[in-house]
C-alpha cells in the first residue's frame, strides 16, 4: 500500500486535534480544574506549530508565553490558587499584546 504523504504541519495539527478530542471526553469525568489545564496545555502545543508551518513564523511573544505555560502549568496539581493567578496573568499578558497589536497603547 502506498504511504500517504503528509506535511509536518499537517501531522502536528492532527496530533493537537487528537489531544483536543481525547481531552474533551476526559473532561467529562475529570476534576473541573483539568479543563483549564488541558486548554492551556493545548495553547502551548499550538504555539509549537509556529515556525513549522509555512506562513506561520516563530513569534517571540508566543515563544515567551509557551515557556511560561510549560513552567507553570503543573501548578494545577500543587497549588490551584497559584494556577489561577498564573492564568489571570496569562490573560493580562495576552490582552496587553492584543492592544499593542491593535495599535493602542496600554
Amino acid at each position: 500500500m502506498q504511504e500517504e504523504q503528509r506535511t509536518e504541519a499537517e501531522e502536528r495539527l492532527f496530533d493537537i486535534l487528537v489531544f483536543l478530542a481525547t481531552s474533551a471526553r476526559g473532561c467529562i469525568d475529570e476534576p473541573p480544574l483539568y479543563g483549564p489545564f488541558r486548554l492551556v496545555d493545548a495553547l502551548s502545543r499550538l504555539i509549537d506549530v509556529y515556525g513549522h508551518v509555512p506562513g506561520l513564523k516563530k513569534d517571540p511573544f508566543l515563544t515567551e508565553i509557551k515557556a511560561e505555560i510549560d513552567g507553570k502549568k503543573f501548578l494545577v496539581m500543587s497549588d490551584p490558587e497559584g494556577f489561577k493567578r498564573f492564568l489571570d496573568e496569562l490573560v493580562r499578558k495576552f490582552t496587553v499584546e492584543l492592544k499593542r497589536r491593535s495599535g493602542q497603547r496600554s
Partner: protein, 180 residues
C-alpha cells in the same frame, strides 16, 4: 535502597532522558508488580509493556495526562471477567482497581530504587488505548505507568500532615504521639 527512602523520595516525573531501559531492569519492575497483594489473591492484573516507538507515541497522543516522552510505558489492565467469576461484583468493580493500584505502587517504588523515574497516568482515553493495543472485551486498561530515566527534579508536592489525616481510636479523636 531502604523502602522508606523510596517511598519518601519517589516523585512523578514528566521529563525523561531518551536512554532506553535494559530488559532485565524492566523485568525487575514487573516482578515488583507481580508480588503485590490482591483481594482473594485474584491477581487480576495484566501488564502490557509498550516500548515500540510508534505505539508509544500513539498512546501518548491519546492520553492528555501523559506529559513528556519516555522510552517505556506499562499499561496495567485488569481482567474484569475473571475478577467477576471469582469475586463477584465487588471483585470486578472495586477490587480490580485497588489491586492494580497496589501493583502499580510496587512498580513505582522498584523503578525508583533502580534509578528510574515514573509517572502514573489515568488521564488517557480507554477507548483509544483499547483500540491501539487491541485489548479484548473483559480486559480493562486501568492505569499507565510511564517509565524512563528522569531529566528533572520536581518540587516536592504538598502532603497533609499526620495530624490532619489521622484519628486515634475513633473518628474525630486527635491522634497524639505517645512519648518515648
Amino acid at each position: 535502597m531502604e523502602v522508606l527512602e523510596a517511598i519518601r523520595g519517589r516523585r512523578s516525573i514528566r521529563k525523561y532522558k531518551p536512554q532506553p531501559i535494559p530488559d532485565e531492569v524492566v523485568e525487575k519492575i514487573l516482578e515488583a508488580g507481580r508480588w503485590a497483594p490482591s483481594g482473594g489473591n485474584i491477581q487480576p492484573w495484566i501488564f502490557i509493556v509498550v516500548r515500540d516507538r510508534a505505539t508509544l507515541e500513539m498512546i501518548r497522543k491519546v492520553s492528555p495526562g501523559y506529559l513528556g516522552t519516555a522510552p517505556l510505558a506499562i499499561v496495567v489492565c485488569s481482567d474484569k471477567q475473571r475478577a467477576f467469576q471469582v469475586g463477584g461484583r465487588l471483585g470486578r468493580d472495586y477490587m480490580t482497581i485497588a489491586d492494580c493500584a497496589m501493583a502499580v505502587q510496587n512498580m513505582l517504588l522498584a523503578a525508583y530504587a533502580l534509578g528510574l523515574g515514573t509517572c502514573v497516568v489515568k488521564s488517557f482515553s480507554p477507548i483509544a488505548v483499547r483500540e491501539i493495543l487491541e485489548i479484548p472485551d473483559g480486559i480493562e486498561p486501568e492505569l499507565i505507568v510511564v517509565v524512563g530515566y528522569p531529566d528533572e527534579r520536581p518540587v516536592v508536592p504538598h502532603r497533609f500532615s499526620i495530624e490532619e489525616i489521622t484519628y486515634l481510636d475513633k473518628y474525630g479523636n486527635k491522634f497524639v504521639r505517645k512519648g518515648p
